[in-house]
Amino acid sequence: MTPVTSASTSPAPNPPAPTAERSGGTGRPALSHRLAERGIDRTLLLLLPGLVFLILLFIYPFVYGLGLSFQPMHGSGALYNYQKFFSDPYERDTIWITLKIGLPAALINVLASVPIAYRLRGRVRGKRALTTALVIPITLGTVLTAIGMIEYFSGTGWLNKILIALHITDIDHPVPLLHNYWGVMLSLLVSGFPFAFLLTLSYLSGIDPSLESAAATLGAGWWQRFRDIVFPLLAPGLAMTFCLNFVLAFSVFPSAVLLGDPERSTHVISIAAYDAAYQEYDYSKASAIAMVMAAVMLIVISIVLFARGRLYRGSSGGKG
């Protein structure tokens, strides 16, 4: 993944020769000096606790899980779990089900947030209030959103009451938004849209407004300005927004159980992995599914980021 550059391109100057070897004069000043010139000195020890922690609790579990997935509890052969997963349509289809929920959800969120963020990129009254309000659904989280939707979308809930009052539907045919695909999709829009919007807005405000002013001075209308100036500068950011949103949507779990139809139409891959671990107690199989999940996610993200690499990558003139 490319975007690790912030620190290496940081404006902070590399501090002058560190003081470490002066105060803690070891027997080999030459070596420590040479190392210090490359940036290696005692300050780096500060990294150790964090690195050790992540190696023990992030990298090791991942490697352990990968190893475990090749030691199936049942069946024989190292690849048994993977063969089983891909040959059983009920399990294999979890990938498609998840993609079918995750890709449209991420796409809708990004596409809906672009025009709204574009309209609100300058100084607009109530922008701070709006951004604050949009943080609320993110803060409340998926579990609470799902619970609220159960009440709100139910046959006797407020939404159906309003629709019945408007004669859009009738009492015997409430709009079916629970325990199916649409419930999960809507929950992803509720939690994903504010996320996409705030990201897009922050990318937009990183684009130097004088570029647009210049275009306006030269007579470009808003559509021309958007298409030729703003959008090309925004596109890499949108790709990133899409990725982050897709990752959230792809790992949907609580709302797929509470709002969806977890046995059938919203049997997403995270439910399959969870069931393997906590219903069947087959950690080997669960790890295999988690690895498949990570792999699929990685493939989608690489495709998007590869496409993004072909976009304009210069400076957006932002103030950072």
């Binding site: 620190a7 902070a12 780096l44 922690f53 509720v190 808003w222 599914i289 990570a294």
Partner: protein
């Protein structure tokens, strides 16, 4: 907010009777919020209602289900666990993360990009994907089903989060200040306590409050590692709904409202230290090209 000063208005905001596009924009936003209010409002109203079925408004109001919920779900215990987990996670993440951020901000060294990648991955990979192998490892060492396990699991995304928020913050503290303190004869201890620490406080507070919000709201990792007496509020809430049935729905809704209030209080506290956008975009923001 930096965005406020970003764009001198190209569009001409003073036209109050704006274009149709302006109206559509606001209509979409309003539609979103009306439904959001419906989602949140249904839960709040229901938690206080005596009986509510098929009408616009419940028949009457009571706080009876609140006390029922409190006893039935052992909410005192759940809140204590939530508090213990979040304080432990915030403190440990800050103690581990801030020094690492300092090293990353001040030094260029070989393999730095690799180290940054290690700190970036846990924030990028969704919790459920690494949560299952992580829980497996924690079970193997008998750490799962306990407070320790929940804290360890929640630290996995929190430590990198502190590192990634603090690194740019430390980068903008001028290293000459530290150099000057040393020139004046300050020891490392004095430089840290009297120069760096006071400068770091606002950044650490912001990072800590963001970690707090994330930890209290973190469902997946806690769900995968918690036992019955080590679940936080959000996991207890999910379990109550998942296993709903014989209970009055109002009492689970009361717990939902309690969770909502907790998060909103945290949000108000958080907004005193950070921008709304920082709550979601901080990490992604820093990785901007």
């Amino acid at each position: 907010m930096s965005a406020d000063v970003a764009a001198p208005d190209v569009v001409g905001r003073r036209r109050l009777i704006g274009r149709p596009s302006t109206w559509i924009t606001w209509a979409v936003v309003a539609f979103f919020f009306i439904n959001l209010a419906g989602v949140v409002g249904s839960v709040v109203v229901k938690s206080f209602s005596t009986q509510w079925f098929g009408t616009w408004w419940p028949a009457g109001f009571t706080t009876q289900y609140w006390s029922e919920a409190w006893n039935e779900f052992d909410l005192t215990d759940v809140l204590i666990v939530t508090l213990e987990v979040s304080i432990a996670v915030v403190v440990i993440a800050a103690v581990i993360g801030v020094p690492a951020a300092y090293a990353l901000a001040r030094r260029q060294f070989p393999l730095k990009r690799l180290v940054m990648l290690v700190f970036l991955l846990p924030v990028m990979v969704p919790p459920i994907a690494y949560g299952i192998p992580l829980a497996t490892v924690l079970y193997k060492y008998n750490l799962a089903n306990s407070l320790t396990g929940v804290i360890l699991a929640n630290l996995v995304p929190s430590v990198p989060f502190v590192v990634l928020t603090m690194t740019p913050f430390i980068e903008q503290i001028d290293p000459k200040i530290e150099a000057a303190a040393r020139m004046c004869g300050a020891t490392t201890r004095a430089v840290f306590l009297r120069v760096l620490l006071p400068l770091l406080v606002p950044g650490v507070l912001a990072a800590a409050v963001l970690v707090l919000v994330r930890t209290v709201g973190m469902f997946e990792l806690t769900y995968l590692t918690a036992g019955t007496d080590s679940q936080t509020l959000v996991v207890a809430l999910y379990n109550a709904y998942y296993g709903a049935g014989i209970r009055a729905p109002q009492s689970t809704d009361a717990m939902a409202v309690l969770y909502m209030l907790t998060m909103l209080v945290l949000l108000v506290i958080a907004l005193r230290f950070v921008n709304p956008t920082q709550l979601v975009t901080r990490v992604a923001d820093d990785r901007r090209d």
